[in-house]
Amino acid sequence: MTNRERRNLRNGLLFISPWIAGFAVFTAYPLGASLYYSLCDYSVLKPPVFVGGANYQELVTDPVFWKSLYNTLYFAVCFLPLATVLAITLALLLNTGVRGMTMYRTIFFLPSLTPLVALGILWMWMLNGEYGVVNYVLNLVLNPLGLQAPIWLQSTAWSKPAIVLMSLWGVGYAVVIYLAGLQDIPKQLYEAAELDGARWLAKLRHITLPLLSPAIFFNVVMGLIGALQVFALPYVLTDGTGGPARSTLFYTMLLYNSAFRYLRMGYACAMAWLLFLIILALTLLVYRVSRKRVHYAG
């Protein structure tokens, strides 16, 4: 290393030192501490006592832990494909160049700006089993067939689908990313395809989706991480209980309750590290599966 390189390195490090310090104090240290606490009996109010793998051992033998993991995976498996299809569909519709398009785009993005608590309370009313507007409309169709609309949040079978439905309201962010991706696709590809006689579906399949694949990949990975950490909406809707009968007790809710309601911070840290490993494994899986299917232009 020449003198100048060394000086540049030093200056470079100094330039980013505020970030390094912030990262060390607010991210790296808490991360390391949580790993240590996950091996401790730690109640926040008293010093931690080392207990080895006891927290992890208790976790894997606790049916409530598995229930919360099942609920979370159920949510992710339902939410992710639906959100992806819905967001791409909306983006395609919003990319057609109809008059007043900017207004439509704003309208579809607006729900993403609604605070989650307000969203939760609003949907609680809309999904009210007897007086909700959703069931009013559904019953117009279902009652003549001799069927009843579900009671959504009060039913163990329908509470998770209800939360999927509410969460779909927030696809606006993904739509914006897809829109940007769509506008990046070169026009000449469509023109060439049209000259060859390609119809709408063929263009979608052979041009739009392949060239949109980096955006889809990004949204799927981010969506997966978000879905596995679903918290605010079910927490507000059920007052933290995950009811009825733990059907909406999601992983992060159990984690939060363990830490701040039961004062079992060590146990909660162990849960957090397991969730980290689960998310890491699933993200790597998505990477591997999509390697041959994501096409980067240029």
Partner: protein, 470 residues
């Protein structure tokens, strides 16, 4: 665009920063300062110790309380009156949401308020972790008597023999019933049920269906308002905890859960659930099922009268002790209270206790609880308090607090975990997904395991503390 990349040294493209003129030593020093500031602030080195705060020559102490609205105004009046009388201390009242969690973090961080208002149900948890100061030494030092308080409220603030809080706003629960619906069903509105069997029979008369067979009005359901699923066993002579052991699977509790199950069986589990889905989550609103006369009888607390005044002023209602299933077991009622405590690490505990002494005097508590529309946790009640109280049944609620059969949530440090096992079990029984015996056994097994774990955790911690001590 200017080609800056090939030139030696650091250059800014648009001349925003005159980087070339900053000598490197100057720059290094600035960066070092930045780094040390960010690093040290994390280690609590350069943060100055908080200074005592004096206002008009009076020491200011901080009091965190959870109440808002009319309840917040009531405690503010008490604080104002205390501050008027004082030339030494000034209390600064801070309203705090999620107060237990914020107090937890503040106590763990070593910078708690001087006073904090907690709930009696969460007090054991804090006490077990020794996050609150024992109050007896302060009482002895200042000559404050214990026997002015009703016993039940001191018991709730005691954990393993030590008093950690004093009661501020107490509450008891009672049966609230709709007199108009009683008349309509051919029942005497001045004669509420006296046994649980009578309540069940009256509930049947007060239940109505529409032409399609859907419930439109229910006499009673144990799922409304759904706040105390854990409590039903006490009306059957049961208890959740004997001080040593979890006692959820006793015959008394099982009988209570069989009674709970009789309601989904009578109404139909699916139909009751559908009815419930229409009324869920609407307590503080005109849509509350008791206010809209869709539920004729419910268990509610002393606060209910004021909600009726606000949301259903025309409602004809009455209150009575909720009847028990066992002959001779009278005036069974759930009792709870809010508590005022001094956190460990508070900087002015003596001054804080001075305020507690005023707040817990008859003057302070009557002022506070008249505002809260509750009663006081004291044995003595002034005639003016009763005369000006807005709740027509206030004497009933006081009577219930004095009852030997009044009960409260077990004083266990793992009570929240216990309660969070009961709630899903209750749902399962109401849904017809578990029999009462299955539900009761499941809760007993899980909570016993939890309690064993908690007990060994306490022992382990005590052992570690002994080893750490020289």
């Amino acid at each position: 665009m200017e080609d800056y990349q090939d030139r030696p040294g650091i250059r800014w493209p648009c001349g925003i920063l005159p980087v070339r003129r900053v000598t490197s030593s100057w720059f290094v020093a600035a960066c070092l300062v930045l780094v040390s500031v960010s690093a040290l602030s994390g280690c609590n080195v350069i943060i100055p110790q908080p200074q005592d705060d004096y206002v008009d020559g009076r020491l200011q102490i901080t009091y965190w309380e959870k109440w808002t609205g009319f309840e917040g105004e009531a405690i503010q009046r008490v604080v104002d009156r205390f501050n008027e009388k004082q030339d030494r201390i000034r209390v600064n009242l801070v309203t705090m949401s999620q107060i237990d969690r914020k107090a937890l973090v503040a106590i763990a961080g070593g910078d708690p308020p001087d006073l904090v208002g907690l709930w009696s149900a969460g007090l054991s948890q804090f006490a077990e972790k020794r996050a609150l100061m024992p109050l007896e030494p302060f009482m002895e030092k200042t000559g404050m008597p214990r026997d002015t308080f009703l016993d039940v409220f001191l018991e709730q603030n005691t954990y393993r023999g030590t008093l950690y809080g004093l009661p501020t706003t107490p509450a008891t629960t009672a049966l609230h019933y709709n007199k108009r619906l009683f008349r309509e069903a051919g029942l005497d509105p001045e004669r509420p049920p006296r046994t649980l069997a009578e309540l069940d029979a009256m509930a049947a008369k007060l239940t109505r269906y529409d032409e399609q067979g859907h419930l439109v009005q229910v006499g009673f359901t144990p799922s409304e308002p759904g706040w105390w699923h854990w409590s039903w066993g006490y009306w059957f002579g049961g208890a959740l905890w004997d001080g040593e052991r979890v006692t959820f699977d006793t015959p008394e509790n099982l009988a209570a859960w069989e009674w709970i199950q009789s309601y989904p069986e009578k109404y139909g589990a699916a139909e009751l659930r559908r009815f419930q889905s229409g009324i869920a989550g609407q307590f503080a609103s005109p849509q509350n099922a008791f206010f809209t006369e869709r539920v004729a009888m419910i268990v509610q607390g002393v606060w209910m009268a004021s909600f009726i005044d606000t949301y259903a002023p025309g409602l004809e209602w009455g209150a009575a002790p909720f009847p028990s299933a066992v002959p001779g077991l009278d005036n069974v009622a759930m009792v709870e209270c809010d508590s005022i405590c001094i956190p460990v690490g508070a900087r002015h505990p003596d001054e804080a206790f001075e305020f507690i002494r005023y707040l817990c005097s008859q003057e302070g508590l009557e002022l506070l609880n008249l505002g809260h529309k509750k009663f006081t946790p004291l044995k003595a009640v002034s005639p003016e308090f009763l005369a000006s109280h807005p709740n027509p049944y206030i004497e009933l609620f006081i009577e219930l607090a004095k009852s030997p059969n009044a009960f409260y949530a077990p004083l266990m440090s793992t009570w929240f975990e216990y309660n969070d096992e009961i709630t899903p079990a209750f749902d399962q029984v109401m849904f017809g997904q578990a029999s009462p015996r299955e539900a009761v056994t499941q809760v007993q097994d899980r909570v016993s395991g939890m309690w064993e774990r908690a007990r060994s955790s306490i022992e382990r911690r005590e052992q570690a503390e002994q080893e750490a001590a020289p």
